[in-house]
């Protein structure tokens, strides 16, 4: 793809859980400061692929990764690379909002604190909450429990928490699937704002969301012979109006199976 300035690239990326293959030989470029969506049917390996970017698959004992994941040229799975260092640069937001059972302030401050941040934490917390479009709603009750927020607010809190460690990439694993439609649209708008300063990868099973929000879309599929392989990648505008591969078309028009 011309004119795509990649911040992350995978080369021949495959993931195994014990003997079972979950992702097959994926070559994917993720554009800098753009939103890239990964779509595909259930079980096609989208989440597994996403978790390769911040080495969260390391936490699963049976998971084995082959191939390369390059972050501005550096192989994340190289010998000297410390996974916890990567996670400062590449943050993650999960499917169900998972605020810590602490105050709103302590949630956002958690990341910087464990990283040994020396500066003004209160200022960092405020900045992160502003960037996550949550500041106005919580500025008067930072000491209140994070669990007292609504679902949409909790997810924005998780985004603020991820932003507080100043990453360059934000990974989002179906961030809106546990939220109501209004909260979903709020998060989508937030994503568009954030994409000016951050590179975002979103996994979603909602086609319309992928079409609304992303600049680029990758379609992963599963067949009896192969699991989790990349069928097509392109500008979202083109994928959703005139995809090149008939499998992509079958999936996005809902004629799958």
């Amino acid at each position: 793809m011309q004119n795509l300035d990649p911040i992350l690239q995978t080369r021949g990326l495959s993931v195994y859980y014990d003997a079972k293959k979950a992702v097959t030989d994926v070559d994917l470029d993720v554009a800098r400061n753009r939103i890239t969506a990964i779509i595909g049917p259930s079980g096609c390996g989208k989440s597994t692929l996403l978790r390769c970017f911040n080495r969260m698959n390391d936490l699963i004992p049976s998971a084995r990764v082959e191939g390369q994941v390059l972050f501005d040229g550096l192989d994340l799975y190289g010998h000297d690379v410390d996974p916890t260092e990567i996670r400062y640069e590449i943050g993650m937001v999960f499917q169900r909002p998972n605020p810590f059972p602490k105050s709103i302030y302590d949630n956002v401050a958690f990341g910087p604190r464990i990283n040994g941040f020396q500066g003004d934490i209160a200022e960092l917390v405020e900045r992160s909450l502003v960037r996550a479009a949550l500041w106005d709603e919580v500025k008067d009750r930072l000491k209140a429990s994070a669990l007292s927020l609504s679902g949409g607010q909790q997810q924005r809190l998780c985004i603020a928490r991820a932003l507080a460690v100043e990453p360059r990439v934000i990974l989002m694993d179906e961030p809106c699937s546990a939220l109501d439609p209004i909260a979903t649209l709020a998060i989508e708008e937030l994503m568009r704002e954030l994409s000016e300063d951050y590179s975002i990868i979103i996994v979603t099973h909602n086609m319309q969301q992928a079409a609304r929000v992303s600049h680029y879309t990758a379609f992963l599929m599963v067949e009896e012979a192969r699991v989790g392989f990349l069928v097509e990648f392109g500008e979202s505008r083109q994928i959703f109006t005139n995809p090149k591969d008939e499998r992509t078309e079958a999936y996005i028009t809902g004629r799958f199976g």
């Binding site: 086609m207 319309q208 959703f240 109006t241 005139n242 995809p243 992509t248 028009t253 809902g254 004629r255």
Partner: protein
């Protein structure tokens, strides 16, 4: 099969569109018939029946909007629905031209019959063929046929040039025929527009199949 309802709706929609095409084709044939035989009753029918064509077009438009709103179509489904919308408009305009020919027939009334320039029935035949083929190319998703329709337009344009030239000569030579000749000019113009609209339909067919918008070839002249 998933989306069986949607598929059925799409099929029904295309069938309705082809029905509209048939109505327009019949209108053109009737209008030309009326003109040739100076049949005022037939001409009147053509004018009256144009309302039915308009109604059918709005019906199709509504169905399209409905499906777009409720089914969130993407890719080929989206292109198909948009194409149906456009083609319905083109067909309705073609129906208007047929109505125009009918009105001219009524204006001519039972004046002294003047010899019809030979290009006019030729243009009519070609126009009807182009309409038929453009709709067939939609039915079969046949881009080759759509391209043929495109190419046929050149012939129609040539005929139009010819007939205009001829009529101007006649008018110059025989001022008494100016009024009748003007009427034929209008008829020729309507027929040329009908052929042109058929090429627009062919364009939309290519859009549905390939996703490419825009002119397939360079316009020759007088396109809207």
């Amino acid at each position: 099969m998933v989306r069986a309802d949607f598929d059925r709706n799409l099929e029904e929609l295309e069938a309705e569109l082809l029905l509209l095409g048939e109505m327009v084709e019949k209108a053109i044939i009737k209008a030309m018939d009326a003109l040739e035989r100076r049949d005022l009753t037939l001409a009147y029918e053509v004018v009256a029946e144009d309302d039915l064509i308009d109604e059918k077009r709005f019906e199709l438009e509504e169905k399209c909007i409905d499906l777009i709103a409720t089914q969130q179509p993407l890719a080929v489904d989206l292109r198909t629905l948009l194409a149906v919308l456009h083609i319905a408009v083109e067909l309705e305009r073609m129906g208007d031209y047929a109505e125009g020919i009918g009105k001219i027939c009524m204006i001519i009334g039972d004046d002294e019959p003047v010899e019809t320039p030979k290009q006019i029935p030729q243009m009519a035949r070609m126009g009807i063929t182009m309409l038929r083929r453009s709709l067939k190319s939609l039915m079969d998703r046949d881009t080759d046929l759509a391209n043929d329709v495109w190419d046929s337009d050149d012939e129609v344009d040539a005929l139009y040039d010819g007939v205009c030239h001829q009529i101007f000569l006649d008018m110059g030579q025989n001022p008494k025929t100016i009024e009748a000749s003007t009427h034929f000019l209008w008829v020729a113009h309507d027929l040329e527009r009908i052929a042109d609209r058929a090429t627009n339909i062919a364009e939309r067919v290519i859009f549905v199949v390939t996703g490419r918008i825009g002119r397939y070839k360079q316009p020759s002249q007088g396109t809207d």
